[in-house]
């Protein structure tokens, strides 16, 4: 989500969550409304074979779409109303300021895993997944972490293919495994 670091440090964050969180709230509310609108458009343009039933395949999606649009609008109103009154219960919505770097590393790890899973194989992709998340969460003993990662992914491979008979992609290590 878009955040401006200056806003966080202005000290307003202590009394009210500051403009930062509310902007995120607003964005999420808008996202809900937009999802509803897109759904409604897709529902209208849906390819429906001529059916005889009383409620066709469009009825329920249309209902949900309209519901989401209304809810999105209501959420926007709620955010705006709450922005006006200072006393609000922000227990859940005030994140303590998110660590975008750690989040970014995890997301990058997930992407890399998806790219590697069926090309490089489970042992490498799984180890990378483990190591990436561990690193993002503050694991800094790189060598030990790498060792643990490969141990985990290799053990899992062994347990799943030998024990349960489920297949995992062998990838480049196809001859070895």
């Amino acid at each position: 989500m878009t955040t401006s670091p200056e806003r966080v440090r202005t000290g307003r964050a202590e009394t009210t969550p500051g403009g930062r969180v509310e902007r995120g709230d607003l964005l999420v509310a808008a996202l809900v409304a937009v999802t509803g609108t897109l759904m409604l458009l897709a529902t209208v343009r849906m390819d429906v074979s001529s059916s005889v039933s009383y409620l066709g395949p469009r009825f329920f999606p249309g209902l949900v779409a309209v519901l989401l649009m209304a809810l999105g609008a209501a959420l926007v109103v709620q955010v705006l109303l709450r922005a006006r009154s200072t006393a609000r219960d922000t227990e859940q919505t005030t994140g303590e300021g998110s660590d975008r770097r750690a989040l970014g590393i995890v997301l990058a790890t997930l992407t890399a895993h998806l790219l590697l899973l069926e090309t490089a194989g489970w042992i490498i992709a799984g180890a990378l997944l483990f190591w990436g998340v561990s690193y993002a969460l503050g694991g800094r003993k790189v060598l030990r972490d790498l060792g643990v990662s490969f141990l985990v992914s290799a053990t899992v491979q062994l347990a799943f293919s030998a024990g349960l008979g489920l297949t995992l992609p062998p990838g480049v290590l196809v001859g070895v495994v």
Binding site: V32, L103, L114, G132, L166
Partner: protein
Amino acid sequence: MDTFSLLLEGFGAALTPMNLLWSLVGVVLGTIVGVLPGLGSAMAIALLLPITFQLDPTGAFIMFAGVYFGGQFGAATTAILLNTPGQSSSMATAFEGYPMAENRRAPQALATAVLGSFVASIVAVTLVVFFSPYMVQLAVQFGPAEYFALAVLAFLATSGVVSGDVLRGVTALGIGLALALVGIDEQTGTVRFAFGVTQLFGGVSIVVVTVGLLAVGEVLHTAARSRNGAATETIVAGRPWLSRRDLSRSWRPWVRGTALGVPFGVIPAGGAEIPTFLSYAAEKSLARRRGNSEFGRGAIEGVAGPEAANNATTATSLVPLLSLGLPTSATAAIMLGAFQQYGIRPGPLLFTEQADLVWALLASLFIGSAILLVLNLPFAPVWAKLLRIPRNYLYAGILVFATLGVYTARTSLSDVVLLYLVGVLGFLLRRYGFPIAPVLIGVILGPLAETSLRRAMAMGQGDVGVLFGSPYSIGLYAIMVVAVVVMTVGRLRKRRVAA
């Protein structure tokens, strides 16, 4: 007294040393498979099905019962320890179980789950033994209109009661309903919201949504907060065993959960999710009324109730399975397949034609739940030691197992892509204070609600009155109206006090 002597005969057939060994093996294997996220008791039975075919029918059923109870417990274990339920019926357990684990009360959460499951299973199986003919009659009364009413009740209960903020709760429900709509419409074959992506034609699997929202979402959420304190420290497990106070707080939720779960197993309404969420909602609002609610911070009632409801439902789901051949849960569906392998044809005649097998099966359910209790109650603190793993390894492990569970379920990379996308959605919901439970309920019950609504309307030839045509559906709607009125009055009163 006839029933009783038949049951004793069943015990006679089931209680041989060899069969006890099979039961033990089943419980252990079931727990191990159940602990893997995404692989619940249904998956445990499915994976171990080939092994049981080596045995005679009685031995196989006993092992089934063991695998089933073990899987059930394993799923609850990961829900509590890792916020990663092994199956959708353990989702409600995670909501309070995981905060309990974070507050060093993991062994207590596990213990109340085991004991609650035991109590519920014993009660429910006893009811099945003595009352199954009457329960069958109730099940036959339920048509599409009643199922629709049930689904709406569950929607209201989760989005209104479970979450404090009704607007956010209903929004979460709407998101879940939207997710469930993706894929080919079962009744007409219309492709909906797939946007030309063939992998989406089959819809978004419940396993993907559950694991994505809870496990992947949790890992992302933890990563996003990791600046505020190193995430490498370990969670301390705390003192094992239930205190007298925990017990006195647990037994009423066990009883209420069992009472909620029993009727839901009989009616084929999509498994144990509704009663677990209803039990969670009931315990939460009861706690709120008592005034010292710990909900949100790890309330033992929120673990005890849903776990009891879950096991009660699954035990009574044997009623439609055995007497109508109608599976009401994933587990029951796999068991039906197993029955057919042994040439057993479930139906009204089963109780007379193959009585010895039926009673051996019922007896083995008692034995299985007893063995689970003996085996896992002492081990609850041992399982809780999982939390001693450094947190960066723990979360990395969660993500690895979540990915693995989803990938191996269908050997499909696109499922993993979906898993991560749903994980991002789960993160956003968490970050902006939306509750997760209504999303899951929407995904699971959305299809049931839509299908039964459309069937009911087709049967009524477009007449809306058909939805209120039976005493059951009128009763369900009456409950909803009363609940909404009570809730609104309560909120207004609170607002007036606050003002």
